[in-house]
Symmetry: C2
């Protein structure tokens, strides 16, 4: 080991591990290229306050080789930054801030560039219009150095003040239209981003996902970490790097939900001198401070750093997609894992045309991005499985998804979504996150169970009514003999009673059962 030790370029690491980014087979790879482009475009538009207008075009240019074009009406990127934003891994604007966005890691779109050049040897083409100039680039990644390689760059005037980015990839791929397909991805994207207009020009024709809402969601705000769940290693680094004069000031300005009073209380409980310089704290003092920060009671993090899917949006989204009888959505209050605020919302659709005897369909979203792959390894799936759906009127065998006419949607909004891999297809099972998902599902489940038993009652009552009606003539005949009333009159009386629901409407609760 001693002799050959060597630094490894992160680009080369991802080239060898392209499956980490979602490129292990041609079908998934094509979807991933589209997905990374879409996420970049939606983020750019939303941040700039522009209603997104996104065109995706896909053409097979030779067997298993596609030209993929993604074009948006966002703000564009200035020419000096553009090569880094596309062709150098671990460069980005979103990593160091705590604010909800789709991309955050500085890896996604770079992966698409890498995959293109790996499978076709060709650079990507980018046209960026910032309103000032129009810049055309041909870019590759210098893999051994993890640096952008500019193949060509031309700058033009922009008299019409156009803005937006157009990216053109040539890459290997396979196009399908079933299940984990680009079409399904775009459909689900449209559900969670109803403010976007998306046009897909695919191998089998054009599909438009029209804008449903004419307003952008409120901009999520950048926030500070919440003291709950912050690790001691991070706290140490923050203490070492702060320019604040004393510990109270450090706590007040470094964390959300910590005012002067709380900061002083933390210091007191931790037996740390409130006026001490943060850099001067001893190892044991930091440990005590950290423990106290975890224990002290604090308000949940502010919600304005998150842009969750609201109950209304979820129900509307599900209604657009699914023909069901009953819809319910639950939006939890924000919670915290590792100091990062997150918020779970769930939706259920039940009955109608959803198949009665199949495994429930699960729609997973994180920061408004649909997750189509790795369902089995996702904290959302695990939470659904660990929820006892038999309580809510469905059937379920242990360790499995529930079975019944149900569709489940789960959305997680967070300033930092813990994906299980850089390909961002599933969520890691942090205990705090799973707890919130399960609570939301249980809440929704209880509402569902009311509907399910109501429906069962109504159905049974209906059956009973039908049965009773069938026997009215016979019953009337017997009553005629007993009471000397006219049969026809008795029938009319009985039918009146049925209509009022007096005779059978209450049978279900047992107390008025009549046979």
């Amino acid at each position: 080991m001693s002799d050959k030790i060597k630094e490894i370029s992160i680009a080369e690491f991802f080239e060898k591990n392209r499956h980490l980014l979602g490129y292990e087979n041609q079908t998934k790879a094509l979807l991933t290229v589209v997905k990374e482009g879409m996420e970049n475009s939606l983020d750019a538009c939303e941040e700039a306050g522009i209603l997104p207008e996104i065109h995706v075009s896909l053409k097979e240019i030779s067997p298993d080789r596609f030209k993929i074009i993604i074009e948006d009406n966002g703000p564009g990127i200035t020419a000096s930054k553009l090569p880094y934003a596309f062709a150098k891994f671990l460069v980005g604007s979103k990593f160091y801030r705590l604010r909800q966005s789709r991309g955050i890691q500085g890896i996604g779109i770079h992966g698409a560039v890498l995959y293109s050049q790996l499978t076709t040897g060709k650079p990507i083409k980018i046209t960026s219009s910032t309103g000032k100039s129009i810049d055309e680039f041909q870019l590759m990644i210098d893999v051994t150095k993890n640096e952008p390689k500019i193949i060509s760059h031309e700058s033009h005037r922009n008299p019409e003040k156009k803005h937006g980015i157009k990216v053109e990839f040539e890459a290997e791929g396979k196009y399908i239209e079933r299940q984990q397909s680009i079409l399904e991805y775009l459909k689900q994207t449209a559900i969670a981003n109803s403010f976007a207009n998306i046009i897909f020009d695919g191998p089998n024709g054009k599909v438009e996902f029209e804008r449903g809402v004419q307003e952008l969601p409120k901009q999520p705000k950048e926030i500070k970490p919440h003291p709950h769940g912050v690790e001691v290693g991070i706290l140490r680094r923050m203490l070492a790097n702060t320019d604040k004069k004393n510990v109270v000031l450090f706590l007040r300005t470094g964390f959300s939900r910590v005012g002067k009073g709380t900061a002083e209380q933390i210091c007191k409980l931790a037996k740390v001198d409130a006026g001490k310089k943060p850099k001067d704290l001893a190892h044991e003092e930091i440990d005590r401070l950290h423990k106290t920060m975890q224990l002290v009671k604090l308000i949940a993090p502010p919600t304005d750093c998150l842009s969750p899917l609201t109950e209304h949006l979820i129900v509307e989204g599900l209604k657009k997609e699914i023909d069901a009888e009953f819809f319910v959505a639950i939006e939890r209050s924000p919670s915290v894992y590792r100091g990062y605020p997150f918020q779970v919302s769930v939706g259920l659709a039940y009955g109608g045309k959803i198949p009665e005897n199949e495994t429930c369909k699960l729609y997973r979203f994180a920061n408004k991005v649909p997750l189509l792959y790795h369902q089995a390894g996702c904290a959302i799936t695990e939470s659904v499985i660990e929820t006892d759906w038999r309580r809510y009127g469905l059937s379920q065998s242990s360790g499995n998804m529930p079975v019944g006419p149900l569709a489940i949607l789960v959305h997680i909004a967070s300033v930092w979504v813990p994906f299980t891999s850089e390909g961002k297809q599933a969520i890691a099972n942090y205990p705090d996150i799973m707890k919130e998902i399960k609570l939301a599902l249980q809440d929704a489940g209880r509402k569902l169970s009311k509907f399910v038993s109501q429906r069962r009652r109504t159905r049974e009552s209906q059956l009973r009514k039908e049965l009773f009606e069938k026997y009215i003539p016979e019953l009337a005949e017997s009553l005629e003999k007993l009471t000397d009333k006219q049969k026809q009159k008795i029938i009319e009386e009985l039918e009146k009673i049925i209509k009022k629901g007096g005779l059978v409407g209450k049978t279900e609760d047992g107390s008025q059962e009549k046979s």
Copy 2:
């Protein structure tokens, strides 16, 4: 986006994404620390030709906080390289060579260091003896720079010429002894590495996994990539960087299984001038060369770069672990994905004390490392599920693992195992790899099915025999009347026939069925 673009340190990336490395909860985190240490030690010993002697010690020093010590008798690391080998991500000796080993990415042990300092704020302690000096380090990672931070370093004389490394972590964790536990990990490690002696000194006492084999496996050799599956992007870079004078020489020296004749044939078929300088090839020439390299018939890669689990080792390993009636193992020949050689072997254990009506237990290994987590998202699991086990006498519902008294072991040996995340817990579903796993399972399944139907035949025959014996007295009585022979004689005759198997032994095939 334009203004705040910034480089991200890979250490900070993994700190935020610690679940990528296997640290999303305390139970798994503790296992991961042990696992990374073990893998490093086993690799070091095996490479140096030393029979491994590894001590793992685990002590709870306060609630949810452990001291973890891993000590080996390997060659040690020289003081100048040591800080990089432990405390700078993406530094390693194994990334750039094609040779089978457990670790390869320059991430594993660094992750354990990062997790320790994140959860306890403490450095790790390392004692490295190279035979010359003994060096003691206290190390941390400077996360924002991804550089080692040496807290202390002392060098001592080594008169006894000791060698080996002792690493001491202090980290948060939770200790369990069921299922995905350290004990289970060590037990499975011992199955696949029977040449190692492993002593575990855990919270509930000492366990020794004794060395079963007194010899190290043959050292795998470093090889060159195989032309099949090499991507065009990689080929382009190889062509640009080679110092070989012409294309034929480049092909012969750059790839395995390409001799002079094959190299010339490739050039001819690709219409590329064999004498041309590699750097001078035009884009289209490279494309043609690449396509031809994929199509030309070649010998499979050499096996000496791989150190698979042999059929013998698998069967012995399974026997040690499982009380079953039938064992079978299959070792496939090496195959290639993306130019990387890999080799699959599988083992089955059937019957005996394995529960009849439970889901089959699956043991997954990659380069002799047991994979305990992410079973659902692993190509091995997927391959098992996609194999039709009903053909081999088990029950299985579509999309699920088979049910029956069966344990399945799958091992993948490769110079580059495509793990689904840096935590190395599951294998990505590259089509070439899944195909090989399924072929191996089918092979083993066919052998199993012979045993299963044999066993069924024997059992049925036994049942029939018992049934027949029950009716002998009655039958004898009837025969007595018909034949005038004495009943007792007839009974004796009938029993003789049964013993010979004449009457019922052949009933199963239908032709001699008698009721």
